[in-house]
């Protein structure tokens, strides 16, 4: 892991309240694995004080990209950054997705800004010759960056304005009904209630599901003990999302123990 002051190469608004930032870092580009995140200081300020954690979204050459919604002080500052500005970045952090093993199809399910880790994951899986399908949902078409950043995408919107009408769980069910994915694994990221519903569905269908959790963090490196999620052992024990996660087999954690981030 590294701490670097990087230069922003580009800043875009790619959908309603969906922003991206690209910056150059050969070291971070080279060492990031799918599902890892960066802990980023929005500005050299006392308010906001702490870093904010963002999944690495896409890597192209030495360019590293994050994607985010504006939900508060820190993200608002990031949304106002422009090419040429600098950023204090720490990472890559966290344990990557556990995508190794024998299976035919990787189904990447994301809701809203849960799209974040999927391009990096999809690219690595595709490079390994695996079949990759993305199911990405949001409330309405305007919130979706349907611009080719996802491999083999199937979109789902609550109002049916783009793709399947319904949520990603129903869209997944429809996908499974109409195709033969063979042995499949699901990787998901999105609001906790989406992960919860997906978890129930995957358990029912016997589909392995790994979820990438979003969690408020301070240090991001396992020191402050501020980012626990309860383990599903029934013993009231916790695991740190920043160092043991953020990617977990859903049956290993108690998703309900996590408050929603926003």
């Amino acid at each position: 892991m590294f701490q670097e002051t990087v230069t922003i190469l580009g800043a875009n608004r790619v959908a309603e309240n969906v922003h991206t930032l690209q910056f150059g870092s050969a070291r971070i580009a080279r060492t990031t694995r799918p599902g890892q995140f960066l802990n980023i200081r929005p500005a050299d300020t006392l308010d906001p004080l702490l870093r904010r954690a963002y999944s690495v979204h896409r890597i192209r050459g030495e360019s590293v990209e994050i994607i985010f919604n504006v939900v508060g002080k820190g993200s608002a500052i990031l949304a106002a950054k422009r090419a040429g500005d600098t950023l204090d970045v720490m990472g890559p952090l966290g344990v990557p997705f556990h995508y190794e093993g024998e299976y035919e199809t990787a189904i990447l399910v994301s809701g809203g800004v849960g799209i974040a880790p999927m391009p990096v994951l999809g690219d690595v899986l595709a490079a390994e010759g695996r079949r990759v399908v993305n199911i990405h949902g949001a409330r309405t078409a305007g919130m979706i960056a349907a611009d080719g950043r996802l491999i083999n995408p199937r979109y789902a919107t609550d109002d049916g304005s783009l793709g399947f009408r319904g949520n990603v769980v129903s869209a997944l069910a429809a996908f499974l009904d109409e195709s033969s994915p063979g042995a499949a694994r699901v990787f998901a990221c999105g609001p906790n209630r989406m992960l919860s519903a997906l978890g129930a569905f995957c358990t029912e269908r016997g589909l392995p599901l790994e979820v990438s959790l979003e969690c408020q963090m301070a240090c991001g490196i396992g020191i402050c003990q501020g980012c626990p999620v309860e383990m599903a052992t029934g013993e009231r024990k916790f695991t740190l999302v920043c160092t043991h996660g953020p990617n977990y087999n859903i049956s290993d954690i108690v998703l309900d123990s996590l408050p929603s981030v926003h």
């Binding site: 006392l46 870093r51 490196i221 020191i223 501020g226």
Partner: protein, 334 residues
């Protein structure tokens, strides 16, 4: 090659003849190489930030509070950011005495850190037991006692807000070690000077001022507290003025060294604490933003000494100039 002095090749060299300023401070058995220690709970067991900092460059590492048994800590939400600060209610999650002594301490020693073990407990017997076990191990320079713990024998009342308890803890632990012994005081009391005097009276080598301030944060949309325990410990730049005032109060009350803690982000903050009366300082919340902040602060203090032609960092301690302050202060009206 073969060029003598005065040759053009040497004309761009400059030489700094200013005397090297000493940043060392000695208290009991420890000569701290500089006044900067990492605060308990903000640097783990001194191992996690390996990628960013060489712990040997710090004045010292104060470990996460260790307790007799491992502690799982509180359920989420444990942290919340506030304006220029942070609330925490971690619940003293730690690996426990055995795991710390067996697996963490040797690695810290290997990294040549000056190790101050912070101890938390829920009874006087437990404080004593943990310290006695630590005394059996090599590599511990001294102790800092976290008295901000609930006394399980007194209905969970906080030791740290009960002066006789703080005195008793100090007395019992002083008997059990000849090493550096500091008591970490809580600011959540009416008269921190009283507590400092009690520690001094029982033989503490230093008092750490301050632990976190009680704080709270509420989400106006959900109407819920932002952390699971409703209130928690407040830290960060927002508490610096509170901490400075407490250090000042303690300085007037006792002669033993003070370890200043509270919102230190940079060398200037650290120096302010020393001017008010601290001999050493601890960096805490700043490490969450920059794990190398401690080392940067140590270097900044050194640079300050050189710039001001000071021979030793000890010249700063308690050098606050109140000669211009009117005698109003003594009358208590603010």
């Amino acid at each position: 090659m073969g060029h003598g002095p005065g040759h053009a090749a040497f004309s761009s060299l400059t030489f700094d003849f200013s005397p090297v300023a000493s940043t060392e401070i000695t208290i009991r058995n420890i000569t701290f190489r500089n006044p900067v220690l990492t605060a308990s709970g903000t640097f783990g067991y001194g191992l996690e930030a390996d990628a960013f900092v060489d712990v040997a460059e710090l004045g010292g590492v104060v470990t996460k509070s260790i307790s007799r048994r491992p502690r799982d800590g509180n359920p989420p939400q444990r942290i919340a950011e506030t304006t220029a600060g942070m609330l925490n209610s971690i619940g003293l999650a730690n690996v426990g005495m055995d795991a710390f002594l067996g697996t963490k301490l040797p690695l810290l020693v290997q990294r040549r850190a000056t190790v101050v073990v912070n101890i938390a407990a829920s009874s006087i017997e437990e404080y004593c037991h943990v310290l006695e076990r630590c005394e059996e191990h090599e590599g511990i320079a001294g102790y800092e006692i976290n008295v901000s713990c609930p006394n399980v024998k007194d209905g969970g009342l906080n030791f740290g807000t009960h002066c006789p308890s703080v005195a008793e803890i100090t007395r019992e632990l002083r008997k059990r070690t000849g090493k550096f012994l500091a008591i970490k005081l809580t600011p959540n009391v009416t008269s921190i000077g009283e507590f400092a005097k009690a520690c001094e009276g029982e033989g503490a080598d230093a008092v750490s001022c301050i632990n976190t301030v009680v704080g709270m944060a509420v989400d106006a949309r959900t109407r819920r507290p932002k952390i699971a325990t409703i209130t928690g410990g407040y830290s960060g730049p927002a508490i610096k003025p509170i901490a400075l005032a407490k250090v000042y109060e303690v300085r007037k009350a006792v002669s033993i060294p003070i370890i200043g803690i509270g919102g230190i982000m940079n060398a200037e903050d650290a120096i302010e604490f020393m001017i008010v009366g601290a001999s050493l300082i601890q960096v805490g919340t700043a490490l969450f933003i920059d794990p190398a902040a401690g080392v940067k602060i140590a270097r900044g203090i050194e640079a300050y000494l050189r710039e001001h032609g000071m021979a030793s960092v000890t010249e700063l301690i308690g050098s606050l100039d109140t000669s211009m302050q009117p005698s109003l202060v003594a009358a208590g009206w603010t």
